[in-house]
């Protein structure tokens, strides 16, 4: 039992470090003044992620249950990180610009295809 509890303790320390790393990572991505290269972002994130999972499987005999729980928590963390990015003013501006440009483009296209729209 003692080996189980000590391995669990190590497991949660590992998980805590992992959360700190991923949160810090997404925070950095969200706050850099210029958008970084998306390939580099995902490569870095994937590296943190795979290292964590490969280590986590060596810590607990309840690894299936723990892995499932951590997977859900990981999704939650990822979702929250993305929400933080989407909650920035810059993202709000991007949403507005998207609608503006998309609808303006649609209007132009519609008029080009159906010139009678202007005549109506």
């Amino acid at each position: 039992m003692s080996s189980s509890s000590s391995s669990s303790s190590g497991f949660f320390e590992l998980y805590r470090d992992f959360l700190q790393q991923t949160s810090g990572f997404w925070e950095q991505v969200a706050t850099v003044p210029k958008p970084p290269d998306p390939n580099e972002i995902w490569k870095h994130f994937y590296g943190i992620w795979t290292e964590y999972w490969s280590q986590s499987f060596t810590h607990s005999p309840d690894m299936f249950q723990v892995a499932q729980r951590l997977w859900m928590e990981q999704l939650d963390t990822t979702s929250k990180s993305l929400e933080n990015i989407m909650g920035t003013a810059a993202y709000g501006v991007a949403v507005r610009q998207f609608f503006q440009e998309q609808l303006t483009w649609q209007e132009r296209a519609a008029k080009a295809v159906h010139p009678q729209i202007d005549g109506a």
């Binding site: 189980s4 005999p61 979702s79 929400e83 993202y91 709000g92 507005r96 609808l103």
Partner: protein, 363 residues
């Protein structure tokens, strides 16, 4: 790869358990999603349409008890976005069924399938025409003099406006569940649409309102990993038949979006998300100021701790905005929907709500 501290028998047992669960998972997946992929029928609690105006209907649920609570209970769901049948999801998982079985004479408005032809439907229509007439119909049918009014989400916003403009409304008790009041606390939606540069007029001009697919994109974006979480949860619980049943129902509803009328969306964006006029007391409808201070009914406000759509602070603001002296605020575990329609709702919200209403429902 295994740690030296790990006991081989423990590992073997864990592996065996997991393999057994996997066998059940695959078997259930085959029967529930390949052989019989149909979603379970929802909204099964027996009801009758007792009033209709265009596509908007008022449903009365057939009593299932010998005696009825003397005050009829009206549910006003959100307008647009999705259909209210999640409130009557499945037998055993239905808030509607629960309230009927507790002896409430239950009514629910259904706004119908909002489409482009409804683009002129605005807050004035629902506050000055639809809701008062539905309440009149309930009073006529039941012979009661007052009702319990229960708004959900934007249905709560509609109810807030109605009660504010009608201090003598025949409403004895008021319940607001996940109802946004302080739109400055409106989470991601506030960031996305609560800005004067949001092209709401352009959207309404081109699309007539918010079409279902756009509504779906907006709500999915609120929880970017929502679908992955849902399907991961499904796989982990695929060995439980009742989990699959609820998942199918919930998933069906969660992807069954309806649109929002252009005029209503414009008001929501400009007057609420951008200017937060209702809370500031600056909202005017048909030349009348909507003053939340005019709400004096006993009031029960419920928010969900993990609500992405109406964060607790957005809902709690109603407590200080009204004149009611008998008022209660609860923040319950769960999300915007799961707080009233999840696997725990029948243990948490429903009994609490029923007891609160019952204690205040004598003539």
């Amino acid at each position: 790869m295994l740690n030296a501290t790990m006991q081989a028998p423990e590992y073997a047992r864990a592996l065996q358990d997991e393999l057994w669960k996997d066998r059940e998972r695959w078997s259930n997946w085959m029967t529930e999603f390949v052989v019989s992929p149909a979603d379970p029928p929802m909204a099964q609690t027996p009801k009758d349409v007792v009033w209709r105006r265009g596509k908007i209907t008022l449903n009365r649920y057939r009593p299932q008890t010998e005696t009825l609570n003397p005050l009829p209970y009206l549910i006003v769901p959100w307008l647009g976005i999705s259909r209210p049948y999640i409130l009557d999801m499945l037998p055993g998982y239905s808030m509607v069924e629960y309230l009927v079985q507790q002896g409430h004479d239950l009514y629910m408005l259904d706004w119908g399938e909002i489409a482009e032809e409804d683009k002129e439907l605005g807050l004035e229509d629902v506050v000055f025409k639809i809701l008062p007439r539905a309440i009149d119909e309930i009073l006529t049918l039941s012979g009661a003099t007052h009702i319990n009014l229960n708004g959900f989400c934007l249905g709560g916003v509609i109810s807030n406006c109605y009660l504010s403009l009608n201090p003598d409304a025949p409403v004895k008790n008021y319940i607001a569940i996940v109802t946004p009041v302080d739109f400055d606390q409106g989470g991601l939606f506030k960031v996305w649409v609560g800005h004067n540069e949001f092209p709401v007029d352009l959207i309404v001009e081109h699309l007539g309102g918010i079409p279902p697919h756009l509504m779906g994109v907006g709500f999915k974006m609120l929880r970017p990993a929502g679908d992955a979480t849902a399907y991961s949860g499904l796989w982990m619980n695929m060995n439980k038949k009742d989990y699959i049943l609820v998942f199918k129902a919930m998933n069906h509803w969660a992807n069954d979006f309806v649109g929002m009328p252009g005029r209503f969306f414009t008001q929501l964006q400009k007057e609420f998300y951008f200017q937060n006029k209702l809370l500031k007391g600056e909202l005017w409808l048909k030349g009348r100021r909507v003053d939340l201070q005019c709400i004096r009914q006993p009031m029960f406000v419920a928010a969900a701790s993990k609500d992405h759509i109406v964060p607790p602070l957005a809902a709690e603001a109603l407590m200080d905005a009204v004149s009611s002296t008998d008022k209660e605020y609860v923040e319950l575990p769960g999300g915007h929907i799961s707080v009233f329609s999840g696997r725990q709702a029948h243990k948490v919200l429903w009994p609490r709500l029923h007891e609160w209403v019952l204690a205040r429902s004598s003539h």
